[in-house]
Symmetry: C2
Subunit: 281 residues, 2 copies
């Protein structure tokens, strides 16, 4: 794990990852407290929006294939949906493609696990967001023995090949593990039970999954160790503090969009000619 | 045309529509000026977000099929994209499906004109937005003779059948024609030519279409006359003033969501039981 601008990136190469070494309440690289964090998030919004517009424009007019895919993974209540609602919501919906993956349908189960993922990918110029993803097929599938070990163990390499292909197609893949503590999860699940308007976010399976916490942490560590690649590294974002989570993901989005470096396309027409035409029309 | 809460709705039944009778700078039913309009839009945002969350929840958990589709049509610069950016952007992206339709691809042309539209429909619980739509197939297709009259003239009835089917599937269809004046369009096109950061929004075909203004108004009148049905009526929103346009569409979204009347689903579990389990776990 290295700190890049304070953010935790899992180095490609398969080094062992021990999640217990990272404090879910931590704020590595943070802007110094909640108040500054919230202000910084607001300061980042227009910069993100400006980059998104250029990304969209260079594809819509210039045919540029590049796009961004943000993959959000983490235990229940770790803030995947909250990130979409509070960070992604600032972007222009026309260039956004958000997909929340649930348990696969019968039709999806008849295909390879990547089938439904391919259909949900961002198109050129778009920002895509996955709330859960193909990684569930080596997480819940592994912890709950939904498929034999021989099947899920092959998937890590298949995922790496898939994501390498995405990179070749111009997709910048930004993968974030939202690292929450069991204590914070308990508090958030209890809050969902306490408020009728939040009951719909609660499922009895959340409690079953919680009972398998160590198995899930182990499954996440395997993902981080095996699927952090040069083309698509994993980031670990401590997520007990919502403001830090939102700040960190805003920062990561900004850095990755800046790395793409989108630019407005050159006009394929003479503006002066059309100005004259319009003034006459 | 009737005024409902001041908003212009085309009555089903095929009465003649004369767009020149409606002032594009008008603010029918408006809240009384720009300042009040902007304040009112902000006041509506949390109400829209709350209704959207219930719509999403009752489908995600309760299996309710209902959803909303906002169809935006209008001349270039009439504010279809602006509506998405300034009104729709306030909603939670996870329950949103926005699609901007361009000239059909070769693959799309090999299918019936409704093929690509069906693929872009909102799923249960979602709010869908079409920036342009199947109506282009009786607008640009008619004005520019892209297909024979025998073809486009059959499409009005086909569209009505299609939208009746949507209503039966639980889709509330809200269709808005953004009514802009040629003078305002000239100003907006000139603004796009003046600023390099806006060049990408300009296309030489915008000027060609502008030269066919009367033909387009006639084609829009035919749409409003023939395709305003009980299940899916058309609304005419004067769009020269952006604040009014945003206010009117916020109001329309609110009214249509309230008509659906979404409610949080009943929990399929005993909250008290899980509260005890969690406190022990």
């Amino acid at each position: 794990m290295v700190e890049l601008g304070g953010l935790l990136r899992v180095e490609p190469g398969g080094e062992p990852v021990d999640l217990s070494a990272y404090d879910p309440r931590g704020t590595p690289g943070g802007p110094g407290g909640k108040k500054k964090g919230l202000a910084e998030i607001e300061r980042l919004r227009p910069r993100l929006a400006a980059l998104q517009e250029k990304l969209f424009a260079q594809s819509a007019v210039g045919g540029d294939p590049r796009r961004l895919l943000l993959v959000l993974q983490g235990m229940d209540t770790s803030g995947k949906g909250g990130t979409v609602k509070h960070v992604v919501a600032g972007l222009n919906p026309v260039g956004l493609r958000v997909r929340a993956f649930k348990a696969p349908t019968e039709e999806e189960l008849r295909h390879n696990f990547l089938w439904r993922v391919r259909k949900a990918l961002p198109q050129p110029g778009e920002i895509g967001v996955f709330d859960r993803s193909h990684y569930e097929d080596v997480l819940i599938a592994r912890v709950h023995d939904l498929v034999p070990e021989a099947t899920w163990s092959r998937r890590y390499a298949e995922i790496n090949r898939f994501e390498r292909g995405l990179a070749e197609d111009g997709v910048t893949v930004l993968k974030v593990f939202l690292h929450i503590s069991p204590e914070e999860q308990r508090a958030r699940l209890l809050a969902r039970l306490d408020r009728p308007g939040k009951h719909w976010k609660f499922s009895p399976t959340d409690v079953e999954d919680r009972a398998r916490w160590p198995d899930y942490q182990q499954a996440y560590e395997a993902v981080l160790e095996r699927c952090s690649t040069q083309e698509a590294p994993w980031y670990v974002v401590p997520a007990d503090r919502k403001w830090y989570r939102n700040w960190a993901i805003s920062r990561l989005l900004l850095e990755h969009l800046e790395r793409i470096g989108p630019e407005y396309p050159e006009p394929g027409f003479d503006p002066e000619k059309y100005r004259r035409l319009l003034l006459a029309l």
